[in-house]
Symmetry: C2
Subunit: 398 residues, 2 copies
């Protein structure tokens, strides 16, 4: 009684070939055969199927290594992904090729609290415009990141604290109907971590943390080269870890949470208090000028040398660093990348975070630990979102 | 130009078969063929090789499912592992079968600060005695856990804080020469986590934490079913995460580390102060009786209802729980198992740790999170050590 499940092993090899072409660029048949330790006949037949599916194409002869000449294979020009990054205050969209290189990108200010319909309509409009510009009929998949907890398997937001009206909204299905393609939804820090892994500083890091400091604070975790989501998909929710000597009451009901003492919201609150009390005349002027104070004005005041603003950023950075120091001891990452809106605070913030981590973690865990600002900026999210859906598309070639 | 790397795929299937027999018990040929989705011919030829290596054996006919009758395969009676768990104050050894069931076990009080020669001599003597008793000539492998950081690839301790004289000592090689078999060395919390995974409460948990509260505090991390060691092998070193409102100076030079305010050493220090100051007359009596105070006497005082001792344990448990709450938010595990000497403090400790975790973590991360005491006791370490070396032995059958 022979049992066989036809196609499983072959599908896996096809997925590996597509992923290899995505991450390492064009490969000759010989390179693929050697890399996967299978015969050239096997590679040839799988490439035949992938070519028929218009997923890969030959792009020319390989450099000769003696013997029969090999041809170089690349992902097909038809392979296009949409990546969407919804933030608390902006929406970005990109169209990428199969290797996730951004071919076109748009970013628009937009308050996520407007609710799902107008925000998603904006994201779809951006995407349609970019696809049209590039002459793409139908993307192969769309990935979406959004700033709140997500039920990954169902493609819906789950009680996102800063997104009123979004709870349970069928984000994935709305996008899927619009673009007639597979859609994957995840939270923003997870897709930004994937973006850093694909195109940023974290390319070769097996175990790293992407820490977003924006309106709130969150963390994407990559363990052994793969996104780590935890049991309920909420791993990395570090905004409510308690910090020492803080009595601030948090929106979650506890006192002393990291997010209650640092992040965009907390910084705006503290800056406003400093402006109104007269502790910082400069912040007072900026408030009078702009009618509001956010991290942007604090950044301006820091750049102008305002002592109160510098102190606010330092206090916040130190607390952030102390929480991260604990996570470094626990997780022993090889890299920490900082992203999100508050990275505009620049070196004052980075220096304080670094100082606290290096001071409070064990030497063994920090001796080779770079801590850096993301250099992908707003593109981390869209590239990561495209990567997320590429995993699904490449896993089941059709 | 066909390339082929003979044996790699076969070795992998052999490894998978051995691991399956270890974790799921005896399997019929049909079951193995279906489980691995390969033909019975392939399974048959791999089992033939494993039989020739005396790693597996037939143990009888399978129940009929119609068609040709299958035979049931088990790991061979010749497969025996040694598991050694070196603690701060004890050494344990066991001999297990291929499924890591403990066939014989010994535990002896022993101060690890005596240095490597006498402690390892004791461990090897225990192991030799157990092997002799069971009539085993030569074990197939030996695993060792010890209470300090380990260079896993070199099999040596690295600057272990509580183990003077052990730094760089060739523990693996000394054992390997003695028993003429592969030896693997890791830190104690990692092997205890593996023990829990294999034989304890964590069997089906993909992502869990094993937290040891002994002389010090450490954590073994299992992510996606596998031990997570981090970049430098020091992941889980949570004893130096800062706790709120503690000014205790730690041996590491910082103030407010978890280990400076809780764990066996901290508890003994606080109990001694309470005895000497007269704050706890009962602890004073126990000190006079035994000449010393450790967690054992505190446990006795807690059981007798001594308010000061109960308070010490509660304060410690709360701080422990607050640190774990942060790790729950970060890692989103599906289970936390507590082990180590201080679990003798029982429900007073467990209740306080649970309370702090449930209070301070986000609801989503704790709604299905059991927090329990290990029920393997001192056997977690030896079973985990045996499992650790079984991974290596089964990965390269020979």
């Amino acid at each position: 009684m022979e049992t066989s499940v036809p196609g499983r092993a072959e599908t896996r090899l096809q997925a590996k070939i597509l992923t290899r072409l995505r991450d390492a660029g064009p490969q000759s048949r010989i390179q693929l055969s050697e890399h996967f330790e299978v015969s050239r006949t096997t590679i040839g037949s799988e490439l035949g199927r992938l070519t028929a599916l218009q997923l890969v194409e030959e792009i020319g002869p390989a450099a000769s290594r003696g013997g029969r000449r090999s041809t170089v294979i690349d992902l097909a020009g038809r392979v296009r992904f949409v990546g969407v990054a919804i933030g608390a205050t902006s929406v970005s969209a990109a169209v990428t090729d199969g290797r996730l290189r951004v071919l076109a990108f748009e970013r628009t200010e937009c308050d996520v609290r407007q609710g799902p319909e107008p925000v998603l309509e904006l994201a779809m409009e951006q995407s349609r415009r970019l696809l049209l510009k590039l002459g793409v009929d139908r993307p192969m998949g769309a990935g979406i990141g959004m700033p709140g907890p997500v039920d990954f398997s169902r493609g819906i937001p789950v009680s996102p604290p800063i997104m009123p009206g979004w709870d349970g909204y069928p984000v994935r299905d709305v996008f899927g109907r619009q673009f007639d393609c597979p859609v994957v939804l995840d939270n923003d820090v997870n897709v930004m971590a994937l973006g850093e892994q694909h195109a940023g500083a974290a390319g070769t890091a097996e175990n790293f943390l992407f820490v977003k400091v924006g309106t709130g604070i969150g963390c994407g975790i990559v363990a052994r080269g793969e996104l780590y989501r935890g049991m309920d998909g909420c791993a990395g929710d570090i905004g409510h870890i308690p910090v020492a000597d803080s009595g601030e009451i948090c929106a979650c009901g506890n006192t002393g949470c990291l997010e209650a003492s640092f992040g965009g919201d907390a910084l705006a609150r503290d800056a406003l208090a400093a402006a109104r009390s007269g502790r910082s005349p400069l912040l007072g002027e900026l408030l009078a000028r702009d009618g509001t104070l956010t991290a942007a004005q604090v950044g301006e005041a820091v750049a102008a040398g305002d002592a109160t603003s510098v102190q606010l950023v330092r206090d916040g950075g130190r607390r952030m660093g102390e929480v991260l120091a604990g996570l470094v001891s626990f997780f022993n990452p090889s890299l920490i990348v900082l992203g999100g809106g508050l990275t505009l605070l620049g070196h004052v913030l980075l220096a304080e975070i670094r100082g606290a981590i290096y001071r409070r973690s064990l030497p063994l865990a920090t001796r080779n630990l770079p801590i850096m600002m993301s250099d992908l900026g707003p593109q981390a999210g869209v590239i990561g979102a495209a990567r997320l859906v590429s995993e699904e598309v490449y896993a089941f070639p059709r």
